[in-house]
Amino acid sequence: MSQTHGSYGTAKLGMWLFLFTEIILFGGLFVLYAVYYYFHPQGFASASHELSLGFGTVNTLILLTSSLFVAASLSALQKGERRLTLLLLSGTILVALIFLVNKYFEWSEKFAHGIYPNGPAMPNLAPGEVVFFALYFVTTGLHGIHVLIGGVLLTVIAFGVRRGSIHQGDYVKLENSGLYWHLVDLIWIFIFPLYYLIL
């Protein structure tokens, strides 16, 4: 428990503590979701119908797959398989891009129908639907920002692996970035049923 344990465990503990704050950050939005769902179950159900289940499911599947890539990339690096690590990381970054592109199409489709904060379609909706979309945009927007940050982080790490500054003997940066990416996945695991499936 002293300095002799080195900075590996210290860095990882720090990262986990940071992830706890992220959980609470999204937790605040889940508090709002729970209360507003309780107030407007009908409005939430009908607004949820408007979301595309296809987009949601595909995004869930690819995000879970990207988590597999990241997790496996750490094992690969630990075993010294540098090429495989890079391959897996590239896969993850690619998935991050696909996710964001999907999200872009999903949002633009809503925008095209006038469904966006203060948009032309909003006054015709029931209060429960309006607040559902408000929460939807804030939550998925915040999540999207996290996907972006995670993607950039992993790109930097991939260059580190390529350059050799992150290697079999010093991989905590990869592990921590991986943890961050898994958290992004974790949050989505809850966003998906709450916004797309509750119908």
Partner: protein, 96 residues
């Protein structure tokens, strides 16, 4: 100094990933059924199992010291308190 963490075999990860895929399909399928009030709880239950798999295997929580898990549970308990106690107000409001 060489960092020595636990190395998880690919096999474990692939099994976990397969389970996650199956659970995603299950949760979508179940959401088509008419379960009434249980719908949200089933969806959340499956999501909890999925997130536990991610946390314990993908995120190595299973291989970390005990206090990591204690802190994680503490965080979740705090979040549960935030949601639960808020409902002590909103659930009993006369004019929602």
């Amino acid at each position: 100094m060489v960092q020595q963490g636990h190395i998880v075999p690919y096999r474990t990860f692939i099994l976990v990933w397969l389970t996650l895929m199956v659970l995603t399909v299950v949760t979508v399928a179940v959401s088509r059924l008419d379960l009434g009030a249980w719908k949200i709880w089933t969806a959340l239950g499956i999501a909890t199992v999925k997130s536990a798999l991610v946390v314990f295997f993908f995120m190595h929580m299973k291989y970390e010291p005990l206090y990591y898990r204690i802190y994680l549970y503490l965080t979740l308990v705090i979040l549960a308190i935030f949601i639960g106690l808020t409902f002590s107000d909103v659930h009993y409001r006369m004019t929602p």
